[in-house]
């Protein structure tokens, strides 16, 4: 019995090694086939998180000082540097809400949610703002729906 189990383990190991080596071999073939042997992408460096976050900070300050247009400009700059930062899109939603562009506030929150990955706090912030925007637009049913989503997520 014991011996049988041991053989089974070896078999697993052999299969893994075979798959790995086959994969490496195939990968090597693919690279050799390509006319350009080395890709220049190895040099790609992640952008500094501080560039976008310092602009976000400026935008938040402008928002607090009721300088909405200023905040919008800061956020657009930040989004050029970090276009997939959900927090930036959410803050843009806040700016749009303050500018009384409620429909756009909802849209920016939806965009933020689409990039929020599994950031429940950001998603809840978006639903909260969407509820407020829907209420401003008189769309109570939609407001209630996002409210439910908000409560369910807590």
């Amino acid at each position: 019995m014991k011996r049988g189990k041991k053989i089974a383990h070896w078999r697993y190991l052999a299969i893994i090694l075979a798959i790995l080596s086959a994969n490496l071999f195939l990968h090597g073939c693919a690279v050799r086939k390509a006319s350009i042997p080395l890709y220049p992408y190895e040099e790609h460096i992640e952008k500094s998180p501080t560039a976008g976050s310092s602009l976000l900070e400026n935008a938040k300050q402008a928002l607090q000082a009721d300088k909405f247009n200023q905040a919008e400009i800061f956020l657009e700059r930040a989004l050029r540097l970090e276009p997939r930062n959900g927090e930036l899109w959410h803050t843009m939603g806040q700016v749009k809400f303050k500018q009384n562009h409620h429909a756009q506030a909802v849209q920016f929150c939806l965009k933020s949610n689409s990039l929020a990955r599994k950031n429940p706090l950001l998603i809840r912030k978006n639903w909260n703002l969407m509820e407020k925007a829907y209420l401003q637009m008189g769309e109570t049913e939609k407001a209630a729906r996002v409210r439910r989503q908000y409560l369910e997520s807590r």
Binding site: L20, A51, S54, I73, E76, L79, R80, L81, M92, S114
Partner: protein, 787 residues
């Protein structure tokens, strides 16, 4: 009663009185009176001309177009050479000791530069002295040279890339009196009009002196005109030497002096004066001349440079430093002598300035109207909000989204690749167009409207309306997915005959002429099967497909013919780009933009073209479609992209070929950019190129040179995964090397199959690729064992 005799006598007296001639004195008075009335009317007429010009818009200022400002931050992928090229485009000077704005000094991987003041939408950004340290082809650090403070972000003032001129092509930078340096004013007055502040517009002493000098010389060697007279001549009158013009000049000068202060006149003069020619553009005013000849702001000019410019007033073409340096040097020496003799400069400055050789801006990259295809789109978009006259006269500042670094790469790759394709295929006259934009923001970064980037004629990116072939297919599949299909849905790829909507029978064929039978939906898209696509499109309904096209941002009413499903519909590359923008941005419609904002000549924001988004498709449908587009590149018609971009970049894209190889298209996106490429001939003859053998190669080389980021699709919450066997079309929860793991909209996986973990989850927690597969396999075996 008066008798007849008396009446006759009275008549005679009146007659005699009438016939008596006027006295000479009275005639003179009358003539004088008439002269004065006519003169007064004439003066009033001249007066109106002067006041209209001076109190209204003095100059027609062209709208100036700027590129996007370059944002520098540690980690940015940018080489010192690329930065240097951008600085040169923005008119920066290369110099060894950088002190003034607009200068830079490169020492290997270290760059010292001083930015220039610039008014952005949010206000003035002041000049700053920066030290940029590079590590290879990226920025390592940025520090302020003055305080040694390390910066996380620094924005450069943008390059001026063009302007919209009125017909006569005058250009100038208008400066106020305060912005004119004292040295310039003192030199100008010393050379041109010593008594400017003392005379009343005309200078009899000056005229007498000039007359004497001219008589002595036997020719015109000296002018007696004051600055005010010169201004009147330049502003209102022609160059003809007639008595009437001289008369008008004198009257208008007196009027000008009567109404306006000396400083106002002086300022107008410095802005009006013609100082050279830059191709078709006339350089007016000291502000622009300083930029044109020295790439410096006027306030930063040295004594020798000011002497050179003031010397050019006498004859800008004759003393042109670029063409006639010797003449210009002699003239500059004369001006410096006057400056010294009239104590404008001291001896030390005089000696130093005299010793300097003729300085001009040296080698620069002229960005002036350098990108005609992009400027064309800017102009078209502006015309929606502004009249043509506003664009050529109001001095508007147009802040655009053009990224010169991307534009240069677009031009280079398009030209080189077409040259190569022509050599390889023997087909000539292939043309091309490229539009590239930011993936999320929809900002158009670069446009090529021709393989010859400087050609400003037919802009193919905006005007070449051609059948888009298979580029239409994503809209068909997106419609099907939104209406309940999955990527695994079986589709029959076999011959079919349908009514073409025009009363004829239509039997579409596949590109390879074969029929592929029952295939999963994603394979039909990845392999671009025509018959399967028509089947899917007809099943879901043409109306729905047309609505999808509209929702993607295309405002065209295509006729609802079945041939639409294979791309018979003609579109321009810009429209295709907008359509794919909505896919790239995750189903959010983002209007593509080339203009960020428009500022007035006094830097007030007139209009902003801000970012806006609108969700047009569910995140789940878009996720499925984009996954299929990735598979199309990985194992379908876009497979050859791997020659340029590694498979790990997971590019999503689609090839397109129109009938008889007339049009070759590729549209696709990476993690950060979307690009659409079209190749074809203007006479619509076949090129022999498919989407993959033509446009895709341009796209691949372009994205390779731009170091495009990998594409990672974010999985929305309502997605589940299962394994599909593409041959048997069986969906299961079991791994097999022939199977493929596909995403499904939650609830659409057939009940007999089990949901398997998302590969994204696996990637994050346990690794990816083959290891992920092995892990899944083991976990499934384990689960199976437990049951």
């Amino acid at each position: 009663m008066v008798n007849r005799k008396q009446r006759n006598a009275i008549k005679q007296t009146v007659k005699n009185r009438k016939m008596r001639p006027f006295s000479f004195r009275k005639v003179c008075i009358l003539l004088l009176l008439v002269f004065f009335v006519v003169f007064a009317i004439y003066v009033k007429h001249l007066d109106r001309i002067i006041r209209q010009k001076f109190e209204g818009k003095r100059w027609s200022l062209p709208a100036v177009v700027y590129a996007r400002p370059l944002e520098l931050y540690p980690g940015l992928s940018l080489s010192p050479t690329e930065l240097e090229k951008e600085l040169q485009l923005a008119g920066y000077r290369s110099e060894s000791l950088v002190a003034d704005p607009g200068g830079y000094d490169r020492d290997g991987d270290l760059m010292q530069l001083v930015t220039r003041n610039f008014y952005f939408s949010e206000g003035l950004q002041k000049s700053v002295n920066l030290t940029v340290q590079f590590a290879g082809a990226r920025i390592e650090s940025i520090t302020r040279a003055d305080s040694r403070q390390s910066l996380s972000l620094a924005r450069l003032d943008p390059a001026r890339i063009g302007s919209f001129h009125p017909r006569h092509h005058e250009d100038r930078i208008v400066l106020t009196r305060k912005e004119l340096p004292d040295l310039l004013i003192n030199t100008l007055l010393a050379v041109e009009d010593q008594n400017f502040y003392a005379h009343f517009g005309l200078s009899p002493r000056g005229i007498a002196r000039a007359l004497l000098a001219n008589i002595r010389a036997g020719e015109t060697v000296q002018g007696g005109s004051t600055l005010s007279q010169q201004l009147v001549k330049n502003f209102f009158l022609s160059n003809k030497r007639t008595l009437q013009r001289k008369f008008n000049e004198a009257i208008m000068t007196l009027l000008l002096e009567f109404y306006y202060s000396k400083d106002e006149i002086l300022t107008a003069y410095t802005n009006e004066i013609f100082l050279g020619q830059d191709g078709a553009r006339a350089v007016h005013g000291f502000g622009l001349a300083s930029q044109f000849y020295f790439r410096r702001d006027l306030e930063n000019l040295t004594a020798s440079q000011i002497a050179l410019l003031v010397g050019m007033v006498k004859g800008p073409s004759y003393y042109n430093p670029l063409k006639y340096p010797d003449r210009c040097l002699a003239r500059r020496k004369l001006v410096l002598d006057i400056m010294f003799s009239r104590k404008v400069i001291d001896e030390e400055v005089y000696q130093q300035a005299g010793a300097v050789s003729i300085e001009t801006s040296g080698e620069t990259i002229s960005g002036f109207n350098r990108f005609p295809a992009f400027l064309d789109l800017v102009r078209r978009q502006l015309r929606r909000n502004y009249l043509e006259e506003d664009l050529t006269t109001d001095g508007l500042k147009i802040m655009t989204t053009l990224d010169p670094q991307v534009q240069w790469q677009v031009e280079k790759n398009l030209t080189e690749t077409i040259d190569g394709l022509e050599k390889r295929t023997g087909v000539s006259q292939i043309e091309g167009a490229v539009i590239i934009s930011s993936r999320e923001g929809g900002e158009i970064l670069a446009i090529a409207g021709s393989r010859k980037p400087l050609q400003s004629g037919f802009n193919r990116a905006l005007d070449a309306r051609r059948p888009i072939g298979s580029l239409i297919k994503p809209t068909v599949y997106l419609t099907a997915i939104a209406n309940g299909s999955t990527l695994a849905s079986p589709v029959l790829d076999s011959s079919l005959t349908i009514d073409d909507g025009k009363g004829e029978i239509w039997s579409p064929k596949n590109f390879d002429g074969k029929e592929h039978g029952l295939v999963p939906l994603y394979v039909a898209l990845a392999q671009s099967y025509n018959q399967a696509t028509v089947k899917i499109g007809m099943d879901v309904g043409l109306k729905k497909v047309l609505q999808t096209i509209r929702d993607l941002g295309i405002d065209i009413d295509f006729p609802a013919y079945p041939s639409l499903l294979l791309g018979a519909a003609a579109m321009v590359p810009l429209e295709v780009s907008q359509m794919f923008q909505t896919l790239a941005a995750g189903g959010f419609y983002v209007p593509q933009r080339v203009i960020g904002s428009v500022l007035s000549s006094d830097n007030k924001v007139l209009k902003r073209f801000g970012l806006s988004v609108e969700q047009r498709f569910t995140p789940e449908s878009i996720y499925l479609l984009n996954t299929a587009l990735q598979l199309g590149v990985r194992e379908g018609t876009g497979k050859s992209l791997f020659h340029y971009i590694p498979p790990s970049h997971n590019v999503a894209g689609k090839t397109g070929t129109s009938n008889d190889f007339r049009d070759s298209w590729f549209a696709g996106f990476t993690g950060d950019k979307l690009a659409v490429v079209w190749l074809g001939r203007d006479d619509n003859k076949p090129t022999g190129l498919t989407g993959a053998s033509g446009a895709l190669t341009v796209w691949g080389k372009l994205m390779q040179s731009l170091h495009a980021e990998p594409l990672e699709l974010l999985e929305p919450p309502g997605i589940e995964w299962a394994w599909l066997d593409p041959e048997t079309l069986e969906i299961s929860d079991h791994f097999h090397y022939k199977k493929i793991k596909l995403p499904f909209i939650a609830g659409s996986i057939p009940s007999q199959a089990k949901v398997t973990p998302s590969p994204a989850l696996g990637k994050k927690q346990k690794g990816s690729g083959i290891l992920d597969r092995i892990r899944d396999w083991f976990s499934l075996r384990k689960e199976a064992g437990e049951h």
